[in-house]
Symmetry: C2
Subunit: 398 residues, 2 copies
């Protein structure tokens, strides 16, 4: 009886917590003889690239847990039926009884195929999906481990940017990760202290993006405040669904055919140029928050705890021989409970930001969203505080 | 007798500490009747945009001190003789006896002109320069408030990026702020735990940048490790001194004629394209760390304390009617002392990274630099820690 751990998709700041949670709980439960880790997820399985985690000292694991990123490394491979058959062949050879796979909805889909194939050949394999994604787009979950820490980073980033642009006025356009869902971009509103604080405009993939409307929106804010801070999801698209990034830049794809939106400053630069030339504003900054959003080592304490717990839960379900996807459900303000749902309920599905969290203008979030997000980003999330002091009457009259 | 405070140039994470330090110390010393703040630096002076800081509650100031950015806002104006004459006219009208100006070497130059002009007309004005710049390029100083917090951000950023690129291999190019000096880019090496950790190549403006050498360097690392992480200063230039950014992009200038290097992802994207096309590597990420480097609300505790102290010192020197620039001098490991030098000693001068801190290859920093930097970035700077576990022998033989 060996338990195998692995990780698929993009890293987050708290994956290592889930990994360590699963290892330590599996040891405590004592129902598994050995605990293996696959390097680079399913790719590592077919290559038999395993490490033995059974006896790694707890002190080491606790240091590992504090680090961002995937300690077992990761993969973008999305196995098909043939690939999954190869995985099963290796798992059987290594006498793996449980496979705990940390990842998003693609990862869940891989496990769904695997468990179906295993059942068909009478191989008693327990498959547990451990949720993680900064995109926060898993269905059946209140939120997803990794998202709170990334939201914390984005919230802190715009808190600083707000003050920066107030100091030296202009237009600031910050591009935030998020292909289909605007959860992370929405987090840019988290640190607003007073109404005039930025971001003043938030563009999410949940609404179609129209260039003329965008320019009109920016002009209106700039005319009123002398500055304008914009948060834009990398995945914003026109009414036909085509990403704005691809209206002026050739499609860039990864080795598995996924269209790439991150890793370039092109969208921010394109929008900046539009504002400069159409509105004649001189100081326009285009920033792309980039890969720091998912790897910056400043995790939310709530996220750390919950990521640990879903890992522990996965080990528990594995010991009970229960296949499924671990979920996080909010049961109070703020308290969560954990559960298990069928892999098929989560696999391949995407949860976008609901209308109930988006303002009527379509370019802001509302108080209901902020109430949803605030408890997640950590007990030490910074509060903005502005200097208030009376004006001194002018003496010299021109 | 009124003391005036103001802020010039780009914001940092700890300016508010210097501001609050100066206000509270001036109150304690009791040699000034009122304390004013100029909004937007010298621009606010000529417009008589002053706020009265004399009675702002200490509790409020302590909350303000924790915030990044310039609470009195800032300006890029570099006053000439005529502009300075206008400033003096306003200062005299408002009976300002001391002007404490927080900023970099341009700010020091403004104060130098002002104090010379004031002396010429017999106006007893004390001018104290309070050092701040994320560029760390002030002469006569061991380091400059603002730099440690930005270095902390850059160090943490590359710590996360290292793990991210290890998870999903490729080439990562991160562009870091720094026009003439590579201090901030050098900080990218701060969180390296083992030799193979990134950044593997660091390009600073202290060395000429050659595209063919760059591509050869990247290829060598990529061939060896299967990944390559690069940190590049925005100000890297060819042998003629022309910024690489301007070899393919039109000059962008701010309203005062300074050539702008920040606010665009163009350099990272350009270098990425070169690597993609010349080396045929598919996964190449171009990130530009952008304005978060100077505004992210996660200051170093050492930086916070020292920024507070230079503000307090400035108030002390003002009360003693001593004009000059406050300095930070290292006197131990780690301990600093504060001093005052002539404005002309600092004004308009730039301190670059010395050869003694750069490796022979020219694309890395050495242990001496890391010993210099480590004490500055905060007692809670994160340590990377990698999982180590034995490999499992392969069972299936193809």
């Amino acid at each position: 009886m060996t338990t195998l751990l692995g990780k698929g998709g993009g890293p987050t700041a708290v994956i290592a917590q889930s990994l360590v949670g699963a290892i330590l709980r599996a040891r405590l439960l004592g129902t598994t003889a050995r605990i293996y880790g696959a390097l680079h997820g399913v790719q590592g399985i077919v290559n038999q690239d395993f490490v033995d985690l059974t006896d790694v000292p707890e002190e080491d694991l606790e240091l590992v847990a504090k680090n961002p990123g995937a300690q077992l490394r990761s993969t973008r491979d999305k196995p098909d039926q043939v690939y999954c058959a190869n995985i099963l062949r290796v798992l059987q050879a290594h006498r793996i009884s449980s496979f705990l796979y940390i990842g998003g909805n693609d990862t869940s889909e891989t496990l769904r195929i695997l468990s179906t194939q295993a059942a068909a050949i009478g191989y008693d394999l327990t498959c547990v999906h451990v949720p993680k994604t900064i995109d926060n787009d898993l269905v059946c979950n209140d939120h997803t481990p990794g998202y709170p820490s990334s939201a914390r980073f984005v919230g802190h980033a715009f808190m600083g940017i707000n003050r920066d642009v107030m100091s030296l006025p202009g237009v600031y356009i910050g591009v935030v990760m998020g292909r289909h869902a605007g959860w992370l971009t929405a987090a840019s509103a988290l640190a607003k202290e007073v109404d005039d604080d930025g971001p003043h405009l938030i563009y999410m993939p949940e609404r179609d993006f129209d260039m003329q409307t965008f320019l009109r929106d920016v002009k209106a804010v700039y005319d009123r405040l002398g500055r304008c801070i914009v948060a834009v999801s990398e995945g914003v698209h026109d009414a036909s669904g085509k990403p704005i990034l691809h209206s002026f830049k050739d499609l860039d794809t990864d080795p598995h055919g996924n269209v790439r939106l991150s890793g370039t400053g092109a969208l921010a630069d394109f929008l900046s140029e539009q504002v400069k030339h159409s509105l004649g504003i001189q100081r326009v900054i285009g920033d792309t928050l980039g890969y720091l959003q998912r790897s910056f080592p400043d995790a939310s304490d709530v996220d750390r705890r919950e990521a640990r717990m879903v890992g522990e839960r996965a080990a528990l379900y594995a010991s009970l021989r229960r296949t499924g996807s671990v979920t996080i459900n909010r049961i109070g303000d703020y308290k969560v409970d954990y559960g298990l749902v069928d892999l098929a309920d989560v696999a391949g599905k995407t949860r976008v930001v609901p209308d109930a969290f988006i303002s009527d203008s379509g370019t802001d979030v509302n108080e209901a969203f902020l109430r949803y997000l605030r408890p997640l980003v950590g007990s030490d999330f910074r509060r903005a505080y502005s200097l208030r002091a009376p004006a001194v009457p002018k003496i010299l009259l021109e």
